[in-house]
């Protein structure tokens, strides 16, 4: 109960903008996971590579910003993993790696 209240009133909690922006970014992770089930020909190399750099940078941003935003950090760590996986599927389908 106390933990829930602490979360509710947190400076990065659901009453603040620091919460809902990162929630929106989880959409990328969800979309990425859904797309792992699709054939690799549908993967956009441009977008996936951009996402890998983007999430790499934002992991650092989430760590350094004040207040420190663990939700954003978790989101970008997850997205980095999904996007790197998709990039590897794309690279294999394109013949860049074996």
């Amino acid at each position: 109960m106390a933990a829930l209240r602490a979360f509710w009133n947190s400076p990065v909690g659901p009453k603040t903008t620091h919460f809902w922006g990162p929630v929106a970014n989880w959409g990328f992770v969800t979309a990425g996971l859904v797309d792992t089930q699709k054939p690799p020909e549908m993967i956009s190399g441009n977008m996936t590579a951009a996402m890998c750099v983007y999430s790499g940078l934002f992991m650092r941003f989430a760590w350094m910003v004040r207040p420190r935003n663990y939700l954003l950090l978790a989101c970008h760590v997850s997205n980095e993993a999904v996007q790197l996986y998709q990039l590897s599927r794309w690279a294999k389908a394109q013949g860049y790696v074996y």
Partner: protein, 108 residues
């Protein structure tokens, strides 16, 4: 004169030596990738991904205006994301749902 202004910018706490600068700046890469993908056939567009791009763009466009200070760079990059996402979605919806209607009309 100009040198000290440049120096002030260079040493700014959210300036080019920091992640506070590069992370939002690189977010433009997502919109640029999307624009590059305008040339791709709509079959290759992913609904989940473009919905995520559009929604993120819309939500962050609003939030960049309510944070202190207002962040116009963040605002503009997210407007671009929402715009390119919406365009990609419209291309795919047009092919999946609207051209079928046309084809059926032609068959009749």
């Amino acid at each position: 004169m100009a040198a000290s202004k440049l120096q002030a910018l260079w040493n700014h706490p959210a300036g080019p030596k920091t992640i506070h600068f590069w992370a939002p700046t690189f977010k433009w890469g997502i919109s640029i990738a999307n624009v590059a993908d305008f040339a791709k056939p709509p079959e290759k567009i992913s609904y989940p991904q473009q919905i995520a791009v559009t929604c993120t763009g819309l939500i962050w466009s609003r939030y960049s205006l309510v944070i202190t200070p207002k962040n116009w760079n963040l605002f503009s990059v997210n407007v671009a994301m929402a715009g390119t996402g919406l365009y990609q979605l419209s291309r795919k919806i047009q092919q999946d749902y609207l051209s079928d209607v046309k084809e059926e009309a032609i068959k009749e």
